[in-house]
């Protein structure tokens, strides 16, 4: 299965992935006038929330390690095991969340070794679903990464 992988050696810590992720999942993007729509998405009543987060290490000399963290779509997902309402499920390897069932108890965030699920402003959890459900079609973070620090590929 194709998954999102991170190449931390070339991650710049620019945080573009976060903004593109939030935008892709905001419902705003369509095929025309992308920049204007992005403005609209971020200046509307609700600021869109990213499902990916760039973590930054401490400065060492001039540099620090940075890498983007989003759902790894684990083969044995603890978040699914821990979910008390059955809102999380695995479909063809992709871990999905049912907004109707989620009660925002954050058990999944605690169970996840990477802390990948985020709390949304409508009191449910949000997670990366590889942009398969939104109009982007494939992970927006990967498309937007300027340095191929996030890739979407099949690995053994």
């Amino acid at each position: 299965m194709k998954r999102v992988y991170v190449n931390e050696e070339v991650c710049l810590g620019c945080h573009l992935c976060e903004f593109e992720c939030a935008y892709a999942n905001s419902g705003a993007p369509d095929e025309t006038g992308r920049p204007n729509n992005m403005f609209k998405a971020f200046n509307g009543p609700k600021t869109p929330v990213a499902r990916i987060r760039v973590e930054e290490g401490e400065m060492r000399g001039d540099d620090r390690i940075c890498f983007a963290v989003s759902c790894r779509h684990c083969e044995t997902p603890y978040c699914v095991e821990g979910c008390i309402t059955g809102a999380l499920s695995v479909e063809d390897g992709v871990i999905k969340i049912d907004d109707e069932r989620c009660i925002g108890c954050r058990t999944c965030t605690v169970m996840c070794p990477y802390g990948c699920l985020v709390y949304s402003d409508h009191h449910t959890m949000l997670k990366c679903e590889l942009c398969l459900e939104n109009s982007t079609g494939s992970p927006a973070c990967v498309q937007a990464c300027p340095n191929r620090a996030i890739v979407y590929e099949e690995r053994q």
């Binding site: 573009l16 204007n36 403005f39 971020f42 001039d62 937007a144 340095n147």
Partner: protein, 501 residues
């Protein structure tokens, strides 16, 4: 602090209707131009430190930014132009030599743009490179004056060592130190993928790059940095750098702050110590001395590697080239006055040297007149900007071209000409680790390979149009060129006719 005489050169225009305050511009600017004001919830820019490298503009996800030249104007004066006055102010406040980088940006004539290429019509049919074979392979090195073959037609003459290139374009010398490790990796991988060569410059060869040795030209320059036996043996050829187009007659100076652990190991000098390349080679004061160094290097490498001698294009270039051809060198590389650099005194960069087009024509003619053209190959560099420049250079007599600036552009360089600051936002001319990693060698090498692949297609198209199917048949074929808007003297030096003749 006194009066600041200098007004910022650029203005940063941020469209508030587009900015989403993602702060990518702030994180990406090593010059710390942008910052976010939490109190006001706006992005603010201090354009005084902006060098117009366009990194923020390229990274802005909403295209909210553009950088424009300021229209703040000093009283107009055709003699005392604004930048001339600003340079005086700058020197009056610092007392220092003005430093610049990349190539000469002044408005001197570009002869490439005054030369036109021929095409076949009716009598000599053109060739379609998509349907017929087209040869762009070149061999650089001394060619034997005659070939002896045995009865089966096998060549028995001894052939001097050659550099074999799949296309007549190489990456010119840029040292590890002046450019980053990732820039070097990009060049090395692209050269290997394309079947051409890149050049180490004077910075030695990073251990990790020995694997690309067959596509590497190793340079020996006046500072002899990083030179040892394995280094000389690692490459496809050895280049002795006598001069550089951007700064003929002077040496180099890599400041100590750029000499980190890896650069120090590669250059074989202490960490943090300035790397100074003297203006002359202290052991070369004549062609005879040059010959000694050439043969020392050949001896050290068992006469298996061709030796290139690189000089800057200066007034007496033809006579100097004639001497070099007789000194035992296999290839002469000539660097024109528009060639780039990581740092040079502005006055030298902008006022010393001559155009590569004239230098090339003069050298090729001189070597032909003296019947020694076959003894040496000619490689030219110093602002080869497109495949058309390559075709014109070959028709003027070059065997191959060096590209430096075009290669850096492919890697993202926007010619902001601030390499000397060491804060290259594109990860090219810097040793700062956070900036170096901005250039992913995987992407860099792909872009370089794309560029040269595209140029090679175009070269084939242009050759095909002329009814020529190999670089060999184009070389020195000045009848394929015509000048436009050139004086008699210029045409005479270039050895071409005027358009219409």
């Amino acid at each position: 602090m006194g009066i600041n005489y200098l007004y910022p050169q650029y203005e940063i225009h941020r469209d508030p209707m587009r900015c989403i305050k993602c702060r990518v511009c702030e994180r990406q600017c090593a010059n710390e131009v942008h910052h976010y004001d939490e109190e006001l919830d706006v992005m603010i820019a201090d354009e005084a430190s902006c060098v117009d490298c366009q990194r923020c503009v390229s990274m802005c996800p909403t295209r909210a930014l553009k950088i424009v030249k300021t229209d703040n104007t000093f009283k107009e004066n055709a003699n005392w132009k604004q930048d001339t006055i600003e340079e005086v102010y700058r020197q009056a406040s610092t007392g220092g030599v003005l430093l610049s980088s990349m190539g000469n940006p002044k408005d001197y004539p570009v002869y490439w743009d005054k030369i036109l290429i021929n095409a076949s019509q009716v009598t000599n049919p053109s060739i379609d490179p998509l349907r017929e074979p087209m040869e762009t392979k070149v061999f650089l090195g001394k060619k034997p004056s005659s070939l002896k073959m045995d009865k089966k037609g096998k060549i028995v003459s001894e052939i001097p060592p050659q550099i074999e290139l799949e296309l007549p374009i190489m990456f010119s010398a840029m040292s590890y130190g002046s450019i980053s490790e990732n820039a070097h990796k990009s060049l090395a991988r692209a050269a290997t993928a394309l079947g051409t060569c890149y050049n180490t410059g004077e910075g030695g060869l990073n251990k990790e790059l020995y694997q690309y040795g067959p596509n590497t030209i190793v340079q020996v320059a006046s500072g002899r940095f990083g030179v040892h036996e394995d280094y000389l043996k690692a490459g496809a050829a050895i280049e002795i750098k006598m001069g550089q187009g951007a700064k003929p007659g002077i040496g180099g100076h890599l400041p100590g702050r750029k000499i980190g652990a890896k650069v120090s190991e590669t250059r074989m000098i202490p960490e943090g110590c300035d790397a100074i390349s003297p203006a002359p080679h202290h052991d070369i004061y004549s062609i005879e001395d040059l010959r000694q160094l050439i043969f020392s290097l050949k001896e050290a490498t068992n006469y298996e590697k061709p030796v290139i001698v690189k000089i800057a294009a200066v007034h007496n270039v033809a006579a100097i080239a004639s001497g070099i051809a007789r000194s035992g060198a296999d290839v002469i590389a000539i660097d024109g006055y528009r060639g780039g650099t990581g740092a040079a005194p502005t006055r030298i960069r902008d006022n010393v040297g001559i155009p590569i087009e004239l230098a090339l024509a003069a050298v090729d003619q001189r070597l032909r007149d003296e019947k020694i053209r076959n003894d040496i190959s000619i490689v030219v560099g110093g602002s080869i900007r497109s495949s058309a420049d390559v075709v014109k250079a070959i028709a003027l007599g070059a065997d191959a071209c060096y590209i430096g600036t075009s290669a850096l552009l492919a890697l993202g360089c926007h010619l902001c000409r601030s390499c000397q600051s060491g804060k290259c936002n594109w990860g090219i001319a810097t040793q700062r680790e956070d900036l170096v990693k901005r250039l992913n060698p995987e992407i860099g090498s792909e872009r370089l390979a794309n560029l040269l692949t595209a140029w090679n297609h175009e070269i084939k198209e242009m050759m095909g149009g002329m009814g020529i199917n190999s670089i060999e048949a184009l070389k020195g074929n000045r009848l394929m060129l015509r000048g436009i808007g050139l004086t008699e003297k210029e045409l005479e030096i270039l050895g071409i006719k005027h358009a219409g003749e």
